[in-house]
């Protein structure tokens, strides 16, 4: 009898040991994610901030001259930021309304079979490698732009990049907007319809206003994707570091500058540190966007 109890307590200690080590292992794995995020900030900042031993922050952000390999190099990223801004702006102008229309159709009009079919197509689109779409823009869409607009001198420009990026951004808008539209309780629609409102009025006066923060959330997450997209803008935005005056101008967005130039620079040079500082700018943008999106989502739930 006594022996049995002893055995029991022995296994009990072993159990506790296993339990505690399991806890420790999963905790370590979870903490690693946080460590990686801190590591990304640490490494980008420590490499990036060193550009300010060469030039002042004011010159870096407000100078529009980006001539990094000149004998007297210029590291002003204003033109690069304008490149990112113009491409992102036009992309959102194309893809947000389209995403909105498709998501309303899916959540309010379509049957469940149709919805599932379209949603799986949209999921495929989300998985399309950006380099493949970039190649399409480079080889085919650019030719179409040259033929359509006889006055342009290059088919690689803001318009081309924005059309391709719209394809990439659509899935985010469709999926996230549709989720937030469907989150609006069914009885709200029924109440509106039973009061005599048309379906159109119900959608635009009852459903959409209630889904507003979800729609905003979708736009922010999608915009974050578009800003960070690299291969498409590297391949089809034209690559000219200048402030654009029309959508048919070529630009060099920030991501394209990093991807296009990092392979050529000497580690530890001013150019190297400048590219890391552009990375810091992108990192701060994406973190702020993510935090805003998280806040909006929490607000919706709470």
């Amino acid at each position: 009898m006594k022996k049995k109890i002893n055995n029991g307590s022995l296994t009990l200690t072993r159990r506790k040991l296993i339990d505690n080590s399991a806890k420790l292992i999963v905790l370590t794995a979870a903490l690693l994610t946080a460590v990686v995020v801190f590591g990304i900030f640490y490494f980008l900042l420590s490499e990036g901030l060193r550009i300010f031993t060469y030039i002042t922050p004011l010159e870096f952000f407000l100078n529009e001259q980006w001539y990094p390999v000149d004998r007297n190099p210029d590291f002003g990223i204003l033109a690069l930021m304008m490149g990112t801004l113009s491409v992102t702006g036009l992309t959102l102008l194309i893809s947000v309304p389209m995403g909105f229309v498709v998501s309303i159709y899916l959540s309010e009009f379509s049957g469940s079979k149709m919805r599932n079919t379209i949603k799986s197509i949209v999921e495929f689109v989300a998985g399309m490698p950006s380099v493949v779409l970039g190649s399409f823009g480079l080889r085919y869409l650019s030719r179409w732009i040259l033929e359509t607009f006889p006055s342009v001198w290059t088919g690689l420009n803001i318009l081309n990049a924005s059309i391709i990026l719209s394809i990439l951004a659509m899935p985010y808008f469709v999926t996230l907007m549709e989720d937030s539209l469907r989150d609006v309780p069914r009885d709200q629609r029924e109440a509106s319809l039973s009061l005599g409102a048309t379906q159109t009025a119900t959608i635009f006066r009852v459903v959409v206003p209630q889904a507003r923060s979800g729609v905003m959330n979708a736009i922010i997450i999608g915009a974050n994707r578009v800003i960070g997209e690299t291969m498409v803008v590297l391949m089809v935005a034209g690559g000219a570091a200048m402030i654009p005056t029309s959508v048919l101008d070529p630009v060099r967005p920030m991501t394209a500058a990093i991807a296009g130039e990092m392979g050529e620079v000497a580690v530890g040079s001013a150019h190297y540190h400048a590219l890391f500082m552009i990375g810091v700018v992108l990192l701060i943008f994406s973190t702020v966007f993510t935090i805003i999106a998280m806040k909006l989502k929490r607000g919706r739930r709470g």
């Binding site: 159990r15 296993i18 399991a22 999963v26 905790l27 794995a29 979870a30 690693l32 994610t33 946080a34 990686v36 995020v37 590591g39 990304i40 490494f43 980008l44 490499e47 389209m98 229309v101 498709v102 159709y105 309010e108 009009f109 379509s110 379209i118 799986s120 197509i121 998985g127 399309m128 490698p129 380099v131 493949v132 190649s135 399409f136 480079l138 080889r139 394809i167 659509m170 048309t198 159109t200 959608i203 997450i221 974050n224 800003i227 960070g228 690299t230 291969m231 590297l234 391949m235 991501t255 990093i258 991807a259 392979g263 990375g279 994406s286 966007f289 993510t290 935090i291 999106a293 998280m294």
Partner: protein
């Protein structure tokens, strides 16, 4: 109502238009190069300064990169999700890990490339290598694996845990013998989708692991390798438009791999659903 059916028609029209265009584009990209895909194409090295020959080193390189990425991301991601779903209470630590996962998911791929360059290539001394590129991709895959595994674990009914605890199982036994197996096929679906997303990533590899042209497969993980997406990038940007057949073939191969992975995920998902429903 007349207005209603008009509105419905307009929304349906644009939805179908978008879907037709997008399916046309996908079909175009797959079919245009499909004639290129022969055993010869898949199993030989490029020749004539990459204008001809096959894509073997890119296929092999992609497999290497993905293996390292998954070996890193799957254990860390699954265990991290287990912490979030099974072990953590509402605490500061939990919200830090959750926020970190969200922030990681939003970081641009090129920033991961910079991080991989600074940490793996330079600080760890791996240089431009399969290991550095694979780990960089692994870090990118981490948030996908975590959030998907987390959802899968949350979908396991609490009664499973209660029954296991009631039978005298410990917390660790309950988690690893009952909850994880119950969520297994959903977790696998998530891993397959993460693979499909990461395999086409180009930017993070450009200066952490990619070689433009190699004549033999890497012998160790400390050598650079070619990959399908970076090969497409080089073929599309460096060569004139007349040299298109290898580009189209490589695009076709990558598109088919991604489509197969996504279909696979869809099949596993629908089979699981059927099993759960009885």
């Amino acid at each position: 109502m007349k207005v209603d059916s008009l509105v419905r028609l307009i929304f349906a029209f644009f939805t179908f238009l978008f879907n037709v265009l997008i399916m046309g584009l996908m079909a175009f990209l797959v079919i245009r190069g499909i004639g290129q895909i022969t055993w010869q194409f898949l199993s030989s090295f490029p020749s004539n300064s990459m204008e001809a020959g096959g894509i073997l080193p890119a296929v092999v390189g992609s497999a290497y990169f993905m293996s390292i990425a998954l070996v890193f991301a799957v254990p860390v991601g699954v265990l991290g999700a287990v912490y979030l779903s099974e072990y953590s209470k509402e605490s500061l630590l939990r919200s830090v890990v959750l926020s970190a996962t969200n922030i990681l998911a939003g970081i641009p791929s090129i920033v991961f490339g910079l991080f991989g360059l600074a940490l793996f290539c330079i600080a760890f001394g791996f240089g431009t290598s399969v290991l550095a590129g694979g780990l960089t991709l692994g870090i990118m895959a981490l948030p996908y694996v975590i959030s998907n595994t987390y959802e899968s674990l949350r979908a396991v009914p609490p009664s499973y845990r209660e029954a296991s605890i009631a039978l005298g199982a410990s917390k660790a036994q309950t988690t690893f013998r009952t909850v994880l197996p119950a969520a297994f096929s959903r977790i696998i679906t998530g891993v397959v989708i993460a693979t499909g997303r990461i395999i086409g990533e180009t930017a993070p590899l450009l200066f952490t692991g990619a070689a433009f042209y190699i004549t033999r497969n890497p012998g160790t993980v400390f050598q650079p390798a070619m990959s399908l997406p970076t090969h497409i990038f080089v073929l599309a940007t460096v060569y004139p438009e007349t040299v298109a057949s290898n580009l189209e073939g490589t695009i076709s191969v990558l598109m088919i791999i991604v489509l197969v992975l996504f279909s696979l995920a869809g099949i596993i998902r629908s089979r699981t659903r059927r099993k759960l429903e009885g």
